[in-house]
Symmetry: C2
Subunit: 347 residues, 2 copies
């Protein structure tokens, strides 16, 4: 059984640096697109057989060291009572949160009752893989989910969610608390179904200044991290454009901090301190470089990360036009060079 990712998350020695890829079950894979021709994104998330099938696809093709369950961070918001539309063009809430009454109406759902299909997909994935690699469970961070729910979808300036923080901070905290009380049992359910490590995506946390991140995101991340660690699994916290928040993120007590490609991992290590693992951080677009250049960049990342406490990944999700062969070459390169590199090869 391959437990490299669990060992690396706990800063234990590994034979080879573990690697997985954010959005590894996705549109860049022809076998995923074949499934998607038959079913839309949200129904796919809710059909355990098919969700397990696409979850397993990249493990088979790429040889990654973990399977991240195919789902979406916004699934729990629907369970709370939000109408949700998901598609390749991004999420959309036709009735975004606009008033205190809208927020008051949100329920704290029973996770098995409303989102049991995620647990079922995890069980089916484990069976299909014969537990050969760990399954990663995941959820969004309360701030990030609230940003989507208030803005109604993605945003450029995050005017509405930030106005909520700045003009009605008590109401914002009430929303974050309700989300936290939803997300902890939701992740606990995933662990009970067999997820052996979880990642929390604070995708928009980097939009906040350090002081606002500390006030409006950090306390809820910390609650989630502690609750999941109490269930015996290591926790990864990831966001983009959050390099300057690394010293704060460390305070969550997370086992692993995910880094986007905007920072070198040795610089990230200096900010995050010695007692946490790091995940990352190749620019997803670097998979369009010639193979030799990819190898050089992988070696450089491995060298900067050091041999202990590093989970290799892209700095963000893999993009649809990426070649599956480039992804496979990346995984092979990490496995070939990881834990053996002390200096980058000559370019």
């Amino acid at each position: 059984v391959n437990d490299r990712i669990l060992r690396a998350a706990r800063r234990q020695p590994v034979d080879v640096t573990p690697v997985w890829i954010m959005r590894q079950a996705g549109r860049y894979l022809p076998e995923y697109r074949a499934v998607r021709e038959k079913i839309d994104f949200l129904p796919l998330c809710k059909t355990p057989d098919l969700a397990a099938e696409v979850t397993v696809q990249p493990v088979r093709r790429l040889g990654v060291d973990a399977a991240i369950i195919f789902s979406d961070i916004l699934i729990p918001t629907e369970a709370m009572g939000m109408e949700l539309e998901l598609g390749d063009r991004g999420p959309h809430f036709p009735s975004p949160l606009r008033t205190a009454a809208d927020i008051e109406k949100l329920t704290v759902p029973d996770p098995m009752e409303r989102t049991g299909f995620v647990a079922e997909a995890i069980r089916k994935t484990r069976a299909a893989l014969h537990d050969s690699v760990p399954v990663i469970g995941f959820a969004g961070a309360p701030f990030t989910l609230a940003a989507y729910m208030v803005e109604g979808g993605g945003s450029k300036s995050f005017i509405l969610i930030k106005r909520l923080l700045f003009e009605q901070p008590k109401l914002a905290h009430a929303l974050f608390d309700r989300l936290t009380r939803t997300l902890i049992p939701y992740l606990e359910m995933q662990v009970e179904a067999g997820a052996r490590i979880v990642q929390i995506f604070d995708s928009w946390g980097g939009e906040l200044s350090p002081r606002d991140f500390e006030t409006f995101s950090l306390p809820y991340l910390t609650r989630m991290v502690r609750a999941l660690q109490a269930k015996g699994v290591p926790v990864i916290v990831f966001g983009t454009a959050m390099s300057t928040h690394l010293p704060l993120l460390r305070k969550t007590g997370a086992d692993v901090l995910g880094c986007d490609w905007r920072i070198e991992l040795d610089q990230a290590r200096a900010l995050a301190g010695p007692d946490v693992a790091l995940q990352g951080n190749l620019d997803p677009l670097a998979l369009f470089l010639p193979a030799a250049d990819v190898e050089h960049r992988v070696a450089d990342i491995l060298r900067r990360a050091g041999p202990v406490g590093h989970i290799f990944n892209l700095g963000h999700g893999i993009l649809p036009p990426t070649s599956p062969d480039a992804a496979k070459h990346l995984v092979e390169t990490v496995h070939r060079l990881g834990c053996h590199v002390t200096a980058p090869p000559t370019p």
Copy 2:
């Protein structure tokens, strides 16, 4: 004559911390919207009388320490031969750069011949203000302009421009070189018309990893900074999500580095080193906070920046729903507290 911004840019003592606001001539001002009811964005940029009028508006209303000329970073791309559409929903190039031949067709225009209206607007602004405050000239950075020209507008993942960098680096460098040879004379023209300080916007530079930023943006920024400094004006370089690039940005030799709100200015100072001024960095959304909280945040920024080498600004452009009174209160607060603050007031 108020030369605070020039003195602060050169790290000379000032009586009061200077302040201006990115997009201070914009839709949040009713007098700007009144002008825009009569004329579209791009024609407004090309009509010196009206461009000067909206440039002067925030100086009169807010009492800021500089007037930034009303224009757009994409103006020079049209002069190079690109068809350009500008509007409140963002820029659009109907025929983006897609081939080597597209790039080869771009001209290096004579700035007075093709963009003389910018110089004329600067002269009219100076006359209207009787040179009471300095005029700021500006341009985009080559990487940022290329990103717009290749993507055809804004982008989420910058797939096309990054594929150009990674798959055809020589062609990318040829494009950046041509842009640099356009932008230096374009800024020199602005200085000759009376701009006394210039800002270079590398709005998308933060999308690049440090190594790619160093390869594909830094050399061209450095050429621009040196050329403009040779004309006797201080140079500000600004981008968002670029905190981790501050040690690299320092290598441009820029007089001032602009910071977004994602980093505290004392942390920025540690990364940028002692011999450069800093500009920033209040979150534009913080103008929706109660007045007392804004004052507390201003005091905190001033304290972290220190009394020398600081130009106060927002960390990004002011947003349309902002109250003009909140902007005025910000300027007054900086003028009241700047250079006198050693510790933040009790919140």
